[in-house]
Symmetry: C2
Subunit: 340 residues, 2 copies
């Protein structure tokens, strides 16, 4: 077994775009285990927009400390255990961080991955992306059959699931994405009723065209001018579900603020934020539901795999350029444990 | 009886501040009544921020047409009637417009004013201001005892009632207003726990000081930078009730947009607009409740009366400078009908 742990630490905080020089890749000694602890070998890292916030400032979690390993969820395999709930070979989901090995105490949120679930599905469609889409759309957005739902970041890991759940609820669903290929996937594979390429089309005009009765539910992953165009076209009693604002995370000192927010009054509408961490008690039921839909072919999803811990920062940068399809993960090591 | 009707019509739409030259004061012949119609002599006009929207653009109601009498609610007295539900001498609330006489058909929302209610109370604390405060605070804001409630435009006709209802619900209430005299009235007379003069104090610093646990409910009449300061200080699961944005109505082409809106995600908070016109079915019960509180001295209110239809535009301008106390009305004529 390895005696050192390769890891990526934060050297300084980003202002604007994330660059390689903010981080240091280093070797540390393999940690020792104390009573109750578990050593996990990382197999896949989940590359998530929310990490951008943690790099710069306190958000719903404290900022990552300078010199510390970058916080990240991921999946891995137990390689040593002094906790009787976990044994070597167990596959687990955990906050593993950008590193090869991590130690988890009895209070950490280490969770086993059920047999038959692949590591990338455990991170994406059946992980925090799928459950974020599930609770955000259903609990916050509360779509009703026949309503018009718009999703931004619609080809992404969360947006694509949110839109497909809206379809299952009987809604008309329009997705906004960043390439013709992504738009084609939304309409041809994922069953969306329409798709708008925000890089080449006039989003406002296309929303007017595709949502003639206005927008009842907006599931927003993007923020910025797209949010403003939607606010201008809300239906009466619309719900704007604030999931994220990836267009703004690299410009938090000069945020594009939604000047059409006053339309919330005119349309008696609601804009509401949420975090999936508030729904942890209900995760199992959501995962069960999502797993059923995936198994029945009712929810399609894609994964982009980047190989090698050393490519984590460049993978993270791709989140912001949109140069990936669906769930973006880094494969840190191949698993020795069976999937099922 | 008079044979002409003095009235104020809209000549052109405002861009920015409202000026006298947008309007024309003119004499028109006294209208004839058709079957089912009622002729009302205006006694008081309600001077409301929402009229600013109607002057410029379609909002929740169509824009006032060029050449038409300015739309406005008010109270008056029936002087002639061809409708058996109304008789000369009846005191009524109606969309009377900026004019001395108005005609109301069977479909208009002409409502009698109960005995004992003064015309200015019928417009303010027991009228659209009081009921706006009632439904906005209780239905949209849903304050719980012990929570911290902040009200902007707190010394105004709507804000002052919202804050006092929050006190009756057992909340800590901080008001934001535009003069030391208004702030003193809030804390000394209206029972607010604190007041901030936004013209002389650092609103953000004072909010931090007076709301150490964050803000649970914000009842916003003002918008702009004050809204942003509140968004930066939301408690978990906060509710921002969008009632109005008077700081922005004169600059709709260059709105100050709330850049801290993303804190709605961090705090899992909700920002929601409403209009009292959606609650018309429940108005009677709200008015009853408000009347009880006023009679018991639990809701204090003030009125600023401007005399003369010809002073309506300058009265309207005072809404935006804040140079008035509580409910602002124009007395167009003295009533011949008894109050009770």
């Amino acid at each position: 077994m390895a005696t050192t742990n390769r890891r990526i630490t934060l050297s300084r905080r980003p202002k604007g775009a994330v660059t390689e020089d903010l981080f240091k890749i280093e070797e540390a000694p393999m940690p020792d285990l104390r009573d109750g602890e578990v050593l996990v070998k990382t197999t896949y890292l989940s590359i998530d927009p929310t990490i951008r916030g943690w790099l710069e400032r306190d958000t719903y979690l404290p900022a990552i400390e300078i010199g510390a390993v970058v916080r990240s969820s991921g999946v891995g395999e137990v390689v040593a255990s002094r906790n009787k709930e976990f044994s070597p070979g167990d596959r687990v989901f955990a906050m593993v961080g950008w590193q090869e090995y991590s130690v988890h105490g009895p209070d950490s949120r280490l969770r086993g991955i059920p047999p038959g679930v692949s590591p990338t599905d455990a991170l994406g469609v059946l992980g925090l992306n799928g459950t974020t889409a599930y609770f955000g759309l259903l609990d916050v957005g509360r779509p009703k059959a026949g309503e018009t739902v718009v999703v931004s970041g619609a080809a992404g890991a969360t947006g694509s699931v949110a839109g497909q759940i809206a379809k299952l609820e009987g809604c008309r669903v329009i997705g906004i994405a960043g390439s013709d290929a992504k738009c084609a996937w939304l309409t041809d594979e994922a069953g969306f009723d329409g798709a708008i390429n925000y890089k080449t089309e006039d989003v406002g005009a296309r929303l007017t065209e595709t949502c003639p009765e206005g927008i009842d539910v907006f599931f927003d992953n993007v923020g910025g001018p797209i949010l403003d165009e939607v606010l201008a076209r809300l239906a009466l009693r619309a719900r704007v579900v604030l999931c994220g604002a990836i267009s703004q995370y690299n410009r938090m000192d000069d945020v594009y603020a939604p000047r059409n927010y006053m339309n919330l009054v005119m349309r008696r509408a609601r804009m509401e934020g949420f975090l999936v961490l508030d729904y942890f008690d209900r995760l199992p039921q959501a995962v069960m539901k999502l797993a059923g839909w995936v198994a029945e072919g009712k929810i399609k999803h894609r994964t982009t795999v980047v190989d090698g811990l050393e490519n984590t920062v460049s993978a993270f940068q791709r989140l912001f350029s949109g140069d990936h399809e669906g769930k973006l993960v880094v494969r840190v090591a191949r698993s020795d444990a069976p999937t099922s």
